[in-house]
């Protein structure tokens, strides 16, 4: 299964866990699976229209995902890392 790496701001829904294994073959499926396990997580990652919030970025095995990031495929063992710039002002 792919692993989702959770940044500190979003560890409320995961009760402090920084990594979770999630079933799915695309980013969209994995995020939906993560939200089923930890309700509230998805809304922090994507907006109501289903697009990634502007201050979030996703990386697959260290490489930034671009374009339609939610459609990007994931394979067993892949690491999907979420980065967040929620800060400041």
């Amino acid at each position: 299964m792919p692993t989702l790496v959770i940044p500190p701001p979003y560890r409320g829904p995961t009760q402090g866990r920084d990594r979770i294994e999630v079933a799915g073959r695309s980013v969209r499926e994995c995020l939906a699976a993560a939200d089923a396990l930890h309700p509230g997580l998805l809304a922090m990652i994507v907006d109501a229209g289903g697009a990634l919030h502007r201050f979030n970025r996703l990386f697959r095995n260290g490489d930034p995902l671009q374009g339609d990031v939610l459609a990007a495929p994931l394979a067993d063992g892949d690491e999907l890392e979420l980065l967040s710039a929620i800060a400041g002002g």
Partner: protein, 575 residues
């Protein structure tokens, strides 16, 4: 220090109305910004002084790297004893004054004394020909934008300015010091802690700095410094550029985290998050113009927005998350456009938007006016300029208006209003608010980790306070997120000395130690390391169950030095 210009400092005596220059002490060569301000205040200011009296010392200190070609490195610290907290204060700002001072070779301006006639106004001129205190009665009462317009008629277009508006002249405790941005607008503010009032108490309306065509400062290890700065910039630009759309876009997630305070912090979420979302501002760029820009020359992050009105004219910059929260949601005001108007008014008058927003919300909460009354809030801000009793109380901040109204829900730490980031869901940040020498200040050490176990709060807070103190001493902006290793490398190449990351950590600790010592001298005790009762007794979130319930021993532990660990040196500054 670096090659080229010798380091100098400026001493201004506002009693004698003189300005002189002297060599910058070699012992301070690695100190800049916040750490330099702390050292000078520790050595030269009686902590028991009246913050608005002649004994207070106003420090204007660019970071060590300001004026160099290091990216996003030109920030300046304004320091002094705060009339708001009664303790030490450092407020940090972007814009161009920090870089221009350093290009001229000036590492710091130290202002002491007070003119005999409080009705007189003065300017301080700093350029390649020298430094002078000049009469400036014609600028008395001017709002910041009109003031800068006038100053640009008087000084070259290459000049940058630091100034106060009417709030500073009235010596109100919420007054800020404005810095002109790279377009010459007084839009960047050293806002927190009322240092504009300290400048006002000294009769100093503005500082004009003209570096003309002077080049950036020359590093000791020139070639390697330029190569490192280039590589650093390239790496940043190839990376995710997380702050590309500014801080205002975090509104929806802050709301989900219960850290988007509503109606004087009685709730952690606002029903108006959608209309206050920075996304609306970004959408407005399409039809009205405006956009993202760099508030100071050489900033590669460019997180600052420029907001236009419906007719496409400039309205304000930058409309930040903190302002949208404190002047928006916290006052029950739902429209980002109204908040933009309020932001412009605060910049004009020279007021901290956080303190002012908190004060208006307390006024509303106490029954003075309805929550959500945006026009009423604008009227109150204009009253500040008129000097009415209510205007003055709001301009003096949260505690002052709470006292005037006999209202008990006054969310502060050490007399300073809390920023948006709420210590109830973000308890480690609450530990920072309790223990930081600055009071409730998110730039002192923000930790957005709602899942953090309590056993980690103290160390996380201390490490974040150290990372931010190091950053605010270097001249880097916190949004570049440099760590101590980055700063050590830049310092080494700039000075030609081998500056280690351990030394950076040591200087950051010394900065905090100097600041705590100042506060001890001012009469603070461990009993002051706490949040207002309302934050302990009243919760936010589901069933109002999130309260600030961190035990006193964990709070106290954040001020006991932890053995530095690897993570400290790699921790990114975050404000």
């Amino acid at each position: 220090m670096a090659e080229g210009l010798a380091d100098k400092m400026i001493r201004v005596d506002m009693t004698a109305l003189t300005a002189t220059t002297e060599p910058f002490p070699a012992a301070w060569r690695l100190l800049g910004g916040r750490a330099l301000s702390a050292r000078i205040l520790r050595d030269e200011c009686d902590p028991k002084c009246d913050p608005l009296g002649p004994g207070n010392v106003l420090v204007l200190a660019p970071g060590v790297l300001a004026g160099t070609s290091a990216p996003t490195s030109g920030r300046i610290s304004v320091g002094g004893k705060s009339p708001l907290t009664g303790g030490i204060k450092e407020a940090n700002a972007g814009g161009n004054p920090g870089q221009d001072l350093q290009k001229l070779g000036y590492r710091v301006i130290v202002v002491k004394g007070k003119p005999a006639d409080p009705d007189k106004r003065y300017g301080l001129e700093v350029d390649a020909t020298g430094v002078r205190v000049v009469p400036a009665d014609d600028t008395k009462g001017l709002w910041n934008y009109a003031l800068c317009e006038r100053l640009y008629q008087r000084y070259p277009q290459s000049a940058s300015f630091m100034s106060i508006g009417p709030a500073g002249e009235m010596q109100l405790s919420g007054a800020s010091v404005a810095c002109t941005d790279e377009k010459g607008r007084p839009a960047r503010h050293a806002a927190r802690g009322g240092l504009g009032a300290v400048m006002g108490s000294k009769g100093l309306k503005y500082v004009a700095i003209d570096a003309g065509k002077l080049a950036v400062r020359s590093p000791a290890v020139r070639k390697d410094f330029f190569a490192y700065a280039k590589e650093y910039t390239k790496a940043y630009q190839a990376g995710p550029q997380m702050f590309k759309w500014g801080t205002s876009s975090v509104v929806p997630v802050a709301n989900m985290l219960n850290t988007f305070p509503y109606k004087n912090r009685t709730e952690g979420q606002s029903p108006d998050a959608a209309t206050l979302d920075g996304k609306r501002i970004v959408e407005s760029f399409e039809t009205r113009g405006g956009g993202m820009h760099n508030c100071m020359t050489g900033c590669i992050v460019q997180c600052s927005n420029v907001v236009h009105d419906k007719d496409g004219n400039y309205k304000t910059s930058a409309l930040e998350f903190e302002t949208l929260t404190l002047l928006g949601a916290n006052c029950g005001i739902a429209s980002w456009e109204d908040v933009a108007d309020l932001d412009r008014l605060c910049d004009e008058l020279g007021l901290d938007t956080i303190e002012t927003g908190a004060a208006i919300a307390i006024y509303m909460d106490s029954g003075g006016m309805e929550f959500g009354d945006a026009e009423g809030a604008k009227r109150i801000l204009r009253e500040i300029a008129e000097g009415t009793e209510l205007g003055r109380a709001i301009g003096n901040g949260a505690v002052a208006i709470g006292k005037k109204r006999g209202h008990e829900r006054v969310p502060v730490a050490k007399g300073q209003a809390l920023p948006a980031w709420d210590p109830r869901p973000l308890k480690a940040t609450g530990v920072t608010y309790c223990t930081s020498p600055m009071g409730a200040d998110h730039t002192a050490g923000l930790i957005i980790n709602p899942g953090m176990p309590p056993t980690e709060y103290a160390r996380a807070s201390q490490e974040s306070q150290l990372a931010n103190a190091a950053c605010d001493s270097s001249g880097f902006c916190q949004f570049l997120q440099p760590n101590m290793e980055d700063i050590a490398k830049y310092y080494s190449l700039y000075t030609g000395e081998n500056v280690t990351r351990e030394q950076i950590a040591e200087m950051a600790w010394q900065c905090l130690a100097d600041e705590w010592a100042f506060n001890d001298g001012a009469g603070f005790t461990a009993a002051d390391d706490r949040l207002a009762d309302c934050l302990v007794e009243e919760g936010v979130g589901p069933n109002h169950g999130m309260k600030f319930d961190v035990p006193a021993d964990i709070i106290a532990a954040a001020k006991q030095r932890f053995e530095p660990r690897e993570e400290l040196y790699k921790l990114k500054a975050t404000g």
